[in-house]
Symmetry: C2
DNA sequence: TTTTTTAAAATGAACGCTCGTTTTTATTTC
DNA sequence: GAAATAAAAACGAGCGTTCATTTTAAAAAA
C-alpha cells in the first residue's frame, strides 16, 4: 500500500471513473468499461478495490475532500465577509472550469446508487462547511435575519444553477466571469447594509 | 388505442415508474421490477410500449407538460409582475408537496439515459417558458438590467435548491411556507424598485 | 337468446447477452 | 522473491426483449 504503482493505477481508475460516472451514470459504467477505458486489467481493478461500490466510495471521498479544502482555504484567506462570499462563488466556478468532471461527479451523480447509507450531497462535508459559514454570518448580524435554509438557498442555489447550466453546455463562456454580477445579486438579497 | 383498459394499465406503469425512476434511477429499475411493482405482466408493458426507453419518453413528455401547464396558468392569472413571480415559486413548491415523485423525476432523473438526443432539463418546455418570462421582464425594465442567465439563476436557483432540500428530507415541513421569504430575497436581488 | 367470431389485452417462459465477480496461469516490476 | 499486473476464462444472476399462447369482452351470426 502506498507504493508508486498503487497511486498510478488508482489515479487511472479515478480519472476514468470520475469522467464516465458523471457522463453515463454509475450503473451504466461496467467493470469491463473501466478496464478498457483506464487501460488496466480487470485483475488490477480488483487488486485495489474489493467491489465496484468501493470505487464509488473512493471517488466520493476524494472529490468532497478536494472541494472542501479549496472552499475552506478561500474563506480563511478572505479579508472580510463579502470577500469570503466571493471566494465561495469563485472557487466553485473555478473548480467547474478547471476540473469539470469532478464538479459533475459531485452535482450530477446519484451517489446513493453506490453509497446507500450516505447523506445527500447537500449534507456532504463541503456543503455543511458552507452552511456553517452562513449560519455564523446570520447569527453575527452580517446577513439579514432569516431562516438558514433560505439564506443557504439564496446563495448556493444560483451558484449551483450557473454551474449546471455550464455543465449542460447552455453557457459557453467561462463562468468565473459571472462571479461579480452573481455576487452583486446575492449580496442584495442577503446583506443588511449595501 | 385510447380505451379504458389502456388508460388504466398505462397509468399503473406511469405511477410506478415515476416513483421508481426517481428513487433508484432509470438503469436500476428493470422491466421485471416494473411488472411486479405495477402489478401487470411483462407482456402488457410491451403491448403499450415498444421499449423501456419509450416508457422514459412517455414519462418525460407527461411530466413536463403537467408542469408547463401549471406554471403557464399561474402566470396568466397573476395581476402583476411580483405576483407572477410568486406564482412561479408557489406552484413549483405546491407541485413538490402534492406530487413529489413528479418533481423528483424532473429534477433528479438523468433523462439523457433514455432520451439520448433530448435537450438538458433546463431547456425543457417549462423551464424555457419561465426563461422567456424573465427575459421579458428584463427587456421591459421591470427587473434590473442583467444577463438573462444571471437573472434566471437568481430566481430558479434558490427555488430548485429548496425543492431539492425537501426531496432529500433535509426540510421536514411544507416548503410552500417558504414562498414569501424566498420571494422577498429574490425580489431584492432582481427588481429595480422595492 | 344463444352461439360464434373477433380483436384487444395480458401472460410468462425462454432467448441471447452483459453484468459484477472470481479464479487461474503467466508475466512484469521493484 | 514478493508485489503488482495481465489476459482470459468461467460463474450465476439479471438484463431487455420476443413470442406462442390464453384470457377477456364485446360484436356478429344463428
Amino acid at each position: 500500500m502506498g507504493s508508486v504503482k498503487e497511486s498510478i493505477t488508482k489515479k487511472k481508475i479515478f480519472e476514468f471513473c470520475i469522467r464516465e460516472f458523471a457522463r453515463a451514470g454509475y450503473a451504466n459504467v461496467s467493470i469491463r468499461n473501466i478496464s478498457k477505458g483506464a487501460g488496466i486489467s480487470i485483475g488490477a481493478i480488483y487488486y485495489y478495490f474489493s467491489s465496484k461500490e468501493q470505487i464509488g466510495q473512493f471517488l466520493y471521498d476524494k472529490t468532497t475532500e478536494i472541494i472542501l479544502n479549496k472552499i475552506r482555504l478561500g474563506i480563511k484567506k478572505a479579508p472580510n465577509d463579502k470577500e469570503a462570499l466571493r471566494s465561495i462563488i469563485y472557487n466553485l466556478f473555478d473548480m467547474s472550469e478547471k476540473e469539470p468532471h469532478l464538479m459533475e461527479f459531485i452535482l450530477y451523480v446519484k451517489h446513493k446508487e453506490f453509497l446507500p447509507d450516505a447523506p445527500p450531497i447537500c449534507s456532504s462535508k463541503p456543503f455543511e462547511f458552507i452552511k456553517n459559514f452562513i449560519k455564523e454570518k446570520i447569527e453575527s448580524g452580517v446577513f439579514r435575519d432569516m431562516d438558514i435554509v433560505i439564506a443557504s438557498a439564496l446563495i448556493m442555489g444560483p451558484v449551483i444553477r450557473i454551474i449546471q447550466l455550464r455543465m449542460d453546455n447552455i453557457l459557453n463562456n467561462d463562468i468565473r466571469l459571472y462571479t461579480e454580477s452573481l455576487l452583486n445579486g446575492i449580496v442584495k438579497s442577503l446583506f443588511k447594509e449595501q
